[in-house]
């Protein structure tokens, strides 16, 4: 059991590294594209709408895949009254309960997300942006993100139930919430 959990953790460490690399790259595109748009507009006098439209469309591809990584490391915003008051076994049980609820929520949202994506795919709805694309390409980030999150939640839950430490905290390289 211990060996299986260790292997599961290693797999998820790899998955996490892939997600972090992917989202980091997407962030880089989001950061650079608006400046390129401004420079092109300034020098050619002609604006390319797709350069301005692309960054917002990429945001869900950062948010949903990364959501699971943050769940794994307990880095989402929550009201910390109960953990503040509890310790030891009571705290472990609470953490297991929260992870179980999160896992169930991920499965439900992921399921609804997959159904919605299938619906929009059948519908063939197109974006209203300069470069047209089928909207389900955007929406698929939703079930993908919740599937990843369910996987990370399950791992954290199993480790909590086995009495093993949860995956380590990410370095506190703080960005800024507000």
């Amino acid at each position: 059991m211990r060996g299986a959990l260790a292997a599961y953790r290693r797999l998820n460490d790899w998955l996490q590294a892939a997600v972090v690399a992917f989202t980091g790259f997407v962030v880089l595109v989001i950061v650079v594209a608006p400046l390129v748009a401004a420079i092109v507009r300034y020098y050619t006098g002609q604006g390319y709408d797709w350069l301005a439209e692309m960054p917002p469309q990429l945001v869900p591809w950062v948010v949903f895949p990364m959501m699971g990584v943050l769940l794994r490391h307990d880095r989402h915003i929550s009201v910390d009254i109960a953990p503040y008051l509890l310790s030891g076994r009571a705290y472990t049980l609470l953490r297991a309960l929260v992870l179980a609820i999160s896992l169930a929520a991920c499965i439900v949202f992921g399921w609804y997300g997959a159904e919605s994506v299938a619906f929009f795919r059948r519908l063939g709805q197109l974006s209203t942006t300069e470069i047209e694309f089928e909207l389900w390409y955007l929406y698929i980030s939703y079930p993908v993100g919740f599937a990843l999150a369910a996987n990370f939640c399950l791992e954290a839950l199993l480790h909590t139930l086995a009495g093993q430490p949860a995956p380590g905290k990410i370095d506190p390289e703080l960005g800024g919430l507000a």
Partner: protein, 420 residues
């Protein structure tokens, strides 16, 4: 059924389920089971909310803040602030407040400001005899100026929820930001009047520090000048700030490859924390719209003849209580769909309401149990946060005084936006 799902959401919140799930589970359950809305509609609405053009400036400004953090910009601002105001009573504290305010004009990220400026100022303050709890809470409180001084992520979120142009919301925060800075400086000077002061720097030292800080100080002019001249959109201005920050860090040889990749990862994390709440809070907005809660409240206000001042007092109490338990972004999404129609009914300028609520919700970042500002600042000098809490009440009073000033003098928020 609506009441029971709302109760479920409150229970989930109290047992520390992540807030985006609290929003998502409670509101989606009401929307799908009670209001019979199809899940596809909810998903489409949440994507529409996340992909608003105005909101994309947030991750870019967060990235700019992270690059500044790793690129040495904060150090120049601290040196300048020390040379300018370090000799005043409580000089180190005053310098931290001023440096935080200036840093806010280039990054707009509260936590980045605490880490960037606090890492340099707080240990020095402790060594100079400033009480540790006071230092921690002052750093967290001073960072609130960043929520007002543009560019500010809270302003962007407010604009996305109210359709007030970002340029106007940015401008609305300038004078209130200086008011908050003035209140904090006054309190620091009074509170630390007995502590030893630094020697007054001569003008050549001041000029030298200013000269070194010029590349950083020009950045706000680039950002805001670009926006107000109509040359750049907020996202483009943010992108300009980020690339400028990278170049500055590379030229100064302070920004390393590791710093750059950490900035990207950190930005992805912060963006996720904010936007996943936006995605799920949209469900809540849908529920509010369908249950006609704002209309009910407007009827109650008319019925009970509630005036603007009473409304501000009631809203202030709500913000202080919510801010104690919930972070800034969720508070905006929880309250604005309800309060904006009420403001319009009472003919309260939305910009006045913005600076009022930002100050009070920001105070919530200082009050336990949810006070990420204090936790972050406490971590900088390894002070247990529960010891730091004893210094919080004075800053709550400052927050309330600030809010009262914003209610009494609405022109502080509306005058500058009216100039553009």
């Amino acid at each position: 059924m609506v009441a029971s799902f709302a109760a479920l959401a409150i229970v989930l919140m109290l047992i520390s389920v992540p807030l985006f799930f609290v929003f998502g589970i409670g509101s989606a359950a009401i929307a799908i089971l009670a209001l019979k809305l199809p899940p596809t509609t909810l998903m489409q609405l949440s994507f529409d909310a996340m992909t608003k053009q105005v909101l994309v400036a947030i991750p870019i400004f967060v990235f700019a803040g992270n690059v500044m953090l790793h690129g040495g910009a904060a150090q120049r601002l601290v040196e300048l602030a020390l040379k300018l105001v370090g000799h005043l009573p409580g000089g180190l504290g005053v310098a931290m407040v001023v440096a935080m305010g200036t840093f806010g004009a280039i990054c707009g990220s509260i936590l980045a400001a605490i880490v960037a400026i606090g890492t340099m100022m707080m240990p020095t303050m402790v060594k100079s005899g400033y009480p540790r709890p006071f230092v921690v809470v002052l750093a967290a409180a001073a960072a609130l100026i960043d929520a007002l001084i543009p560019p500010s992520n809270t302003a962007i979120i407010f604009s996305s929820l109210t359709n007030v142009p970002v340029s106007r919301t940015f401008a609305a925060g300038v004078l209130p930001g200086f008011v908050l800075m003035g209140l904090l400086v006054t309190y620091v000077m009074w509170r630390c009047r007995t502590l030893a002061r630094a020697e007054r720097a001569d003008w050549s030292e001041r000029f030298g520090a200013f000269w070194k800080a010029v590349p950083v100080l020009t950045m706000p002019f680039g950002i805001l000048g670009g926006i107000y001249s109509g040359l750049l959109t907020p996202a483009e201005a943010a992108s300009f700030a980020a690339v400028y920050g990278i170049l500055l860090g590379l030229i100064e040889r302070k920004l390393t490859w590791k710093g750059l990749t950490q900035s990207l990862r950190s930005t992805a994390e912060t963006t996720t924390v904010i936007f996943v709440i936006i995605a799920m809070a949209t469900f809540f907005s849908v529920v509010i719209t369908y249950t006609r809660l704002p209309q009910e409240l407007i009827s109650a206000i008319v019925e009970h003849n509630i005036g603007p001042v009473t409304f501000f007092v009631l809203a202030g109490v709500v913000f202080l209580i919510l801010g104690t338990f919930v972070e800034v972004v969720p508070v905006f999404y929880l309250t604005l769909p309800i309060f904006v129609p009420l403001c319009q009914a009472l003919k309260i300028d939305l910009l006045q309401f913005y600076v009022f609520m930002t100050g009070l919700v920001g105070v919530g970042m200082l009050t336990p149990p949810v006070c990420v500002g204090v936790y972050t600042a406490a971590a900088v000098i390894n002070e247990p946060p529960d010891r730091a809490f004893r210094a919080v009440p004075a800053f709550i009073v400052i927050g309330i005084v600030y809010a009262a000033i914003m209610v009494a003098f609405p022109w502080l928020a509306t005058w500058l936006p009216s100039r553009f």
